[in-house]
């Protein structure tokens, strides 16, 4: 059942659970806004990558490749390759959303991205399936609003930020933090080490296929660890 009106405390809890993520997400959004403002594409089109693509790495790649004059088909293919992980996230959330109304699945699916899945899964594990829906929605909506606001702010004022801040380095640091924090789990540790190694070895692979290869290698390595245990 979806009964959000009765679950305001769970919505608020989901929103609160998203707040720590915003420390990493908002600077990322600012960087994308700056990229959109400086790229040779209409600023509004760059901002629209937020509500339309709604996945930071893919948005950065799209804006950067359009700015660099890449062929449209290559830009679309690259954006989708980077977003292949969304299929796995979709699979992860599907078990919790089985039997829910169509409007919920269409809306909740649109909000799927790394932090919303992480906060959502935590809610489903702690609160159960029914209350978890409200928890997921609270976190996902806060993320969506913050993300679009950060990109807009970056597009408007980000270009004037001093270069010595090196805001572009926030993204790798954010990802390093997320990966290192998951090393305690043996299967995830194996997945992380394999994915990082393959990503470094495949840096010269075109179309950012190296990242997709690295994710596949990491998942395979993690599954091996599971089987051997």
């Amino acid at each position: 059942m979806i009964s959000l009106s009765a679950d305001r405390s769970d919505i608020a809890a989901g929103a609160r659970a998203m707040l720590p993520w915003l420390a990493g997400i908002v600077p990322f959004g600012l960087v994308i806004g700056v990229s959109a403002a400086q790229a040779d594409v209409p600023t509004l089109a760059g901002w629209l990558t937020g509500p339309l693509i709604y996945a930071g790495s893919s948005q950065l790649a799209t804006i950067g490749m359009l700015d660099g004059g890449a062929a449209p088909a290559v830009v679309v293919a690259s954006a989708l390759i980077i977003n292949i992980r969304l299929i796995f996230y979709s699979a992860t959330m599907a078990s919790y959303w089985r039997g829910t109304p169509r409007w919920w699945r269409l809306t909740a699916a649109y909000l799927i991205v790394d932090p919303s899945v992480a906060v959502g899964l935590d809610g489903y594990r702690r609160l159960g399936r029914d209350r978890g829906h409200a928890h997921y929605l609270g976190g996902a909506v806060v993320l969506w609003v913050s993300w679009l606001a950060a990109i807009a702010a970056g597009a408007m004022v980000g270009a004037s930020l001093p270069g010595w801040l090196h805001l572009e380095f926030v993204i790798p640091l954010y990802l390093v933090g997320q990966a290192i924090a998951k090393l305690a789990n043996p299967a995830q540790r194996r997945a992380i080490l394999a994915a990082a190694t393959v990503a470094l070895l495949a840096l010269s692979v075109p179309l950012q296929l190296g990242v997709a290869l690295a994710i596949a290698a990491g998942v395979t390595a993690g599954l091996t660890a599971k089987v051997r245990r």
Partner: protein
């Protein structure tokens, strides 16, 4: 194809990715291996994007130029390992980057 169409096409494709398994799995049972794999995608993706991102930040800087970002990553890793908080990577890593950039030769 204009930038607008490229962005809308990439957006539509991304939405279909998000919806794909939610639609399919209501009709099929998910294999156990795929269930396990889905739990490993996020850490693998974070690690792959992190490694590629750090490498991109260091590319073209030379050994001395790359010292500052690498020092920041090292500080971030130590901070996360000591605190258990992923947010510590940014809170410690960015100041470490600013200090290292000011102190180390570029």
């Amino acid at each position: 194809m204009s930038a607008w169409i490229v962005i809308m096409t990439a957006g539509l494709g991304s939405y279909l990715f998000r919806l794909s398994m939610i639609v399919l799995i209501s009709r099929i049972t998910m294999p156990p291996d795929l269930e396990r794999a889905s739990g490993l995608v996020a850490p693998a993706a974070f690690a792959a994007l992190a490694a590629a991102g750090v490498a991109a930040a260091c590319s073209g800087l030379g050994i001395t130029g790359a010292a500052a970002p690498l020092a920041a990553v090292a500080a971030a890793v130590i901070a996360v390992l000591r605190t258990g908080s992923p947010q510590a990577a940014i809170l410690v890593g960015m100041p470490a980057l600013w200090v290292a950039t000011a102190l180390l030769p570029s």
